[in-house]
Amino acid sequence: MGKIVQAAKITHVPSIWMSHTMPKYKGIRQPAIDGYARLRQDAIDRKVDTFVIFDTHWITNQGFHLNTKEHHKGRFISHELPHMLADMEFDYRGDHELGEAILDVLRERGERALGHSHPDMGMEYGTLLPMYFINDGVNARVLPVAVNQFSSIAENRVWGEAIAEAVKRSDRNVSILASGSLSHDFTPNERSVDGLNSVNGEFNRQMDMRVLDLWEQGRFEEFLELLPDYAKKCAGECAMNDTALLFGALGWGSYKGKIDIYTPYFGSSGTGQANISFSV
């Protein structure tokens, strides 16, 4: 029987790539890279077969979508921030089988769910950037999950539950990664260069820290109550539906786990970021 052996809310900011590849920015995101390294080690220790990634940069507008390709290979440049993230080689096995299993559960439950194995189906950096570090040498399969920007928190809870059920029916050790930020209010363009390492707005910064406090104290039910307003008022990345998927898969308000902050909270281009491991 398969199981979820790893869960985390993770950052994917392109400045991590700058930190890794550009001499001028060398080391600016070292704590994020160090957090990835801890997640990588956990993945090895827990024998992860497949990373299922809720990718807030694969933004969809209708239904629930999976990238069920057998193989992901190519060279990536971000069309959003081409000056920050370019020339990233990738070569991962996909997980068509687990993808189909997730789709089966969703269809059983009456959800509109679609898998795509089309050869031209691309990858986004919400998946690729974390995988570059976390899956380095792990060679686990990669199953990208799109995040629907117009779906409700409640729908994503249902989808997350279905993913957990499908994992249970499979033979896979699965890592689920919610790839998205906390508050996500980009620094206005006029000040964007100065905003590289900061959070845009004290309100957002304070709310992010409040949320981290709630998580550290295990007050997940309170968090889930405020999640819809938090996503809206603090400009949550892709409506924070990655986070709703994560909690859906973990049992929603009945989740009683502990978090471990692998990368402390930091500001990046105005947004609030961290790497946080959720016990499973």
Binding site: E202, Q206, M207, L226, D229, K233
Partner: protein, 284 residues
């Protein structure tokens, strides 16, 4: 020389009055009432003779306004909640000179402010509810400043707050300065009120968490950080009167240079969807 001897952010929910009447709310707001009386006792011990209240139930649409009549007396029925506040008797002396001085100094600072002595200009319940309970401890005079400012920004209210302090210091008055208003202030939608036991609950967990976080910041004396988010707090959490009462309070206390640790005298409580408390801001 006069001085502000104590400052406070205070609740004024009508259920405080109902808490002393027979019915389903009886006794429910005792902690808020006790908080008002405690603040009044402290102010009295510090020599206060006058309360200046920034009242978020007095709505103004142009300029800033002060009700500085020499005497207020009558029966008050709220036009917002006539079923909650009905025929409330009141009788307080005012302080026309202090009200006039605040208006003059604020206007000199570039914020057009008028002080009024008009018998038919009534006090609102953001003033009357706190005065009802505080007057059990001492006979304070009262000056009421409109703090539901619809087209104003916090920088202007900050200057009004500075004017309050300068006017008080130029007078002979010992003043308790009150920001009369709630924290988050999203009253339950009318159709959802009963189903949610609205009188005793908050309408948004998000708002509750922000309120509690703000109280943590105040108690830690981290006012400089709080002021960086005041505008968004008022906006996202539906601050009562856009929280101009709070901006005036901080203006009087020195804005972001103020660093005293606040004391919560009435534990945070929800009321009709909103977040309420009584908090002392020590004057340093």
């Amino acid at each position: 020389m006069g001085e502000i001897v104590l400052a406070a952010k205070m609740t004024h929910v009508p259920t405080m009055l109902m808490s002393e009447q027979e019915g389903p709310v009886k006794g429910a707001r005792q902690t808020a009432i006790d908080g008002h009386r405690e603040i009044a006792r402290r102010a009295k011990e510090l020599g206060a003779d006058t309360v200046v209240i920034c009242d978020t139930h007095w709505v103004v649409n142009a300029g800033f306004h002060i009700n500085a009549n020499k005497h207020f007396e009558g029966l008050f029925t709220s036009n917002e909640f006539p079923q909650f506040i009905k025929d409330l008797p009141y009788a307080y002396d005012g302080d026309p000179a202090l009200g006039g001085a605040i208006a003059d100094i604020a206007t000199q600072k570039g914020v057009h402010t008028l002080s009024h002595q008009v018998d038919s200009l009534e006090l609102e319940y953001g003033t009357l509810v706190p005065m009802r309970f505080m007057s059990r401890e001492a006979d304070f005079k009262v000056v009421s400043i409109a703090a539901w400012c619809t087209v104003h920004n916090h920088d202007e209210s900050r200057l009004v707050g500075e004017a309050i302090r300068e006017a008080v210091e130029a007078s002979d008055s010992k003043v308790l300065l009150v920001a009369s208003g709630s924290l988050s202030h999203k009253i339950w939608p009318n159709k959802d009120y009963a189903a949610n036991n609205g009188t005793f609950t908050i309408s948004s967990e998000f708002n509750r968490q922000v309120d509690l976080h703000v109280l943590d910041m105040w108690q830690a004396g981290d006012h400089a950080t709080f002021l960086k988010m005041l505008g968004e707090y008022a906006n996202f959490c539906c601050g009562e009167g856009s929280m101009h009462d709070t901006a005036m309070l901080y203006g009087a206390l020195g804005w972001d240079s103020y660093d005293a640790k606040c004391e919560v005298v009435t534990e945070y409580f929800p009321s009709s969807g909103t977040g309420q408390t009584n908090v002392i801001f020590p004057v340093t």
